[in-house]
Point group: C2
Chain length 436, copies 2
């Protein structure tokens, strides 16, 4: 029986998950692939700690080069994450004629062009299913299943940490800090959760989805990114009052000649499927004019779901190797010559409905001042809630939902509103989305 030989760089949580799965499903992979998959080398700085998975001593090395230069290794699996040295390792693997599987969304979002070019130059394969949505088969679906599709929009809930925190705030009334602490205690959030809660991780993922869906380059810094650390229990509660839930959304909508790509917390109608994707689950929607809508839901992170996605890529590349079809699908699913740069819309040019939470003086005429300013900026109000009376002299919450308006008008109106004497605090804005 033929053998596909793997080298793994990064023996952390996901690496160990992949090794565990491989040790138990190798026989199944053989039945499907018609070849054995053998893990020849694992490189990690720490080769002493017990990962709870069976690994022969001579498989471990602290030297990535031992693996990158190994003459027998067909596929290098990169699971260390981050930009460097991951980027250099992958480029060296490709230069040495090895196929690559990676879960590294940050690297692909920022240095994708360099890596995709190297893959195409060498007619090699790059698997990155695990970079977005864990075991959710969104990358392969975009590359293959939807190859005849003219996408109108793609996006979803692509960060499990943020979704867990928002779900806990929503289901149990916890405040942000408590929910974050709990997520950290349960291992759903890292010690430094910045990338997850500030939306950076979601932005990495939506950059990858945008490239694949529309066949365009993406300048990562053009993606408007806003996290969930400003979301309060009050926001969650008002969202509920208005019939919405708050989710951290990654959005990529084709809008004529530009793409509307952004990451921010959004209010989604409570009866929409995405509003009901809770806990650490992820969900990706894919919208086009013909198949209407597809939503894929699953575990977007974790050692075993991610390990499954990595091994799915290993089998795909193994099949390409065995049938002499490396480079069968270009890394971005589009022919290199057919990739066209499409501009990303500036956030100030988008249009949506808005939720505004103000803290205002408890006196007559306040609503008239606020609605007057909104009106001057062509913004109409859809509904208003003003619940409490001012008991502590800190003003009262005034909560508004607007009809569809231009972001630039909203921002200008808010500047003016926040300067009013009757407005006690900076106004909080949350965009409203349909979740598809």
């Amino acid at each position: 029986m033929k053998t596909i030989r793997l080298g793994l760089i990064g023996f952390g949580t996901v690496g160990a998950g992949m090794v565990k799965i491989l040790s138990q499903t190798n026989f199944l992979i053989e039945r499907r692939l018609g070849a054995a998959v053998k893990l020849v080398k694992i490189a990690d700085l720490d080769i002493k700690s017990d990962r709870g998975v069976p690994v022969a001593r001579n498989v471990l090395t602290t030297q990535a080069d031992e693996l990158l230069d190994h003459p027998e290794i067909d596929i290098v699996v990169e699971l260390i994450g981050g930009l460097e040295p991951a980027r250099s390792f992958i480029l060296k693997a490709l230069a040495n004629g090895k196929h690559v599987v990676t879960a590294n969304k940050a690297l692909l979002a920022k240095h994708g062009d360099e890596i995709f070019s190297a893959v195409e130059d060498k007619k090699l394969c790059l698997g990155y299913e695990a970079s977005v949505g864990g075991a959710i088969p969104i990358i392969r679906s975009l590359r293959e299943s939807f190859a005849a599709t003219r996408f109108k929009s793609i996006g979803g809930i692509v960060n499990g940490t943020a979704n867990y925190i928002l779900s806990q705030m929503s289901d149990s009334g916890r405040d942000f800090d408590t929910a974050l602490k709990e997520a950290q205690d349960k291992g759903f959030a890292e010690a430094d959760p910045t990338f997850d809660i500030e939306g950076t991780d979601s932005a990495h993922k939506v950059a990858i989805l945008t490239r694949l869906a529309y066949g365009t380059g993406v300048n990562f810094d053009d993606i408007y990114t806003e996290g969930i650390s400003g979301i309060t229990s009050e926001d969650i509660q008002y969202a509920g009052d208005f019939g919405y839930r708050i989710k951290l959304l990654a959005i990529s909508k084709m809008d004529g000649e530009a793409i509307d790509v952004r990451v921010h917390p959004a209010m989604i109608p409570a009866d929409k499927p995405l509003a009901n994707v809770g806990g650490v689950l992820n969900a990706v929607w894919v919208g086009d004019e013909w198949m209407e809508e597809n939503i894929l839901v699953g575990h977007g992170a974790g050692a075993l779901p991610t390990g499954c996605a990595v091994l799915g890529d290993v089998v795909e590349i193994g099949r390409n190797i065995l049938s002499g079809a490396c480079g069968r699908v270009p890394p971005l699913a589009f022919q290199r010559s057919a990739i066209k740069d499409i501009a990303i819309k500036n956030i100030s040019d988008i249009e949506c409905e808005y939720f505004l939470r103000l803290r205002v003086a408890d006196q007559p005429g306040v609503l008239s001042i606020i609605s007057g300013i909104l009106g001057e900026h062509s913004i109409s109000i859809k509904s208003v809630i003003q619940k409490d009376r001012d008991l502590d002299g800190n003003g009262v919450p005034l909560v508004l939902m607007t009809h569809k308006a231009q972001e630039k008008n909203i921002q200008e109106a808010l500047l003016k509103i926040n300067r009013q004497e009757v407005v006690c605090r900076e106004t909080h804005l949350i965009r409203v989305e349909n979740g598809s």
Copy 2:
């Protein structure tokens, strides 16, 4: 630029949908595939009716052979459905060295082995993404993305007609006949809806999913199949009272040495994702021990979603042709020599919870008789509802939910219960499932 040449057999709804999409996305397919896709011939008995899509006169023929023997056609797309002449057309296409794309679930469920063998013998490609779940990318996910997965269960809501009818009964309180009529008026149900409402179509689909997930042959007649025509408004209402929704489920669970494959209406807890997949939507869950759960939701039927899935297969095969990798993935994702027949469990050997709706005499002691018989058969009751009094002499409804029990015990108990004098009508049983 290279050209991939298609022949289409069957210019009905889905065929016309595919032609429409192709006419509008050909440029996009070229950008992805790096080759043009050209529809060379369309065979249909009716070549006169206007399908509202642009087709050159000389493309149409009433003779399928003109297409099957056409020397330039690379891929034959079969969209006539049914067993014959679809089977003969596909076998002839394969014999003539043409790749095949089909949406024909009935044919694959019943004559899959013959067709899969012919595909492998000739090292050709067979695309059948459109046979299950329309545009939901479940077939490709099973063949590729989840290639390292040891499945524990797969199934879902795979018939949009039945789901529409049950959703209407549930949301608007309609009875079965009214909901069916409405589905027919809206084009969601055929004039003869038997296959959809009696579960046959779902059984075809679960047969295909079972083969793919576990790498086994499936004797279609071994699949227990029960439709929704026996579901009444009362059932829907009681389901709601107990916190459930009724869905027509296709189930395939690996249970030790046998597979539990069945199609029947099932009560699903209302807060489970599958319970909330309404209207004509389909949803397929895929469960394993590592990635926990994936659910794919989308439009499972209709000209355009199905047309998208067909064209996705066309592009996949086009890529195989262009890279010389036909036969890259075996039709069932498993190597032919690795397919092992696994037995299908007899329905009497399954275990689940049950909902029982009885019509009994309105007199004391009835519950004691019923629960006594259930107890004799090792069935414990979880909850009981007995709402009304007997006003018309036809007895009163008595509704029970059981704890987990053996189907064979339930069936024996029901035989005995139905013979009791206090039982006015045959008892109605609905199985309870978690929806994953």
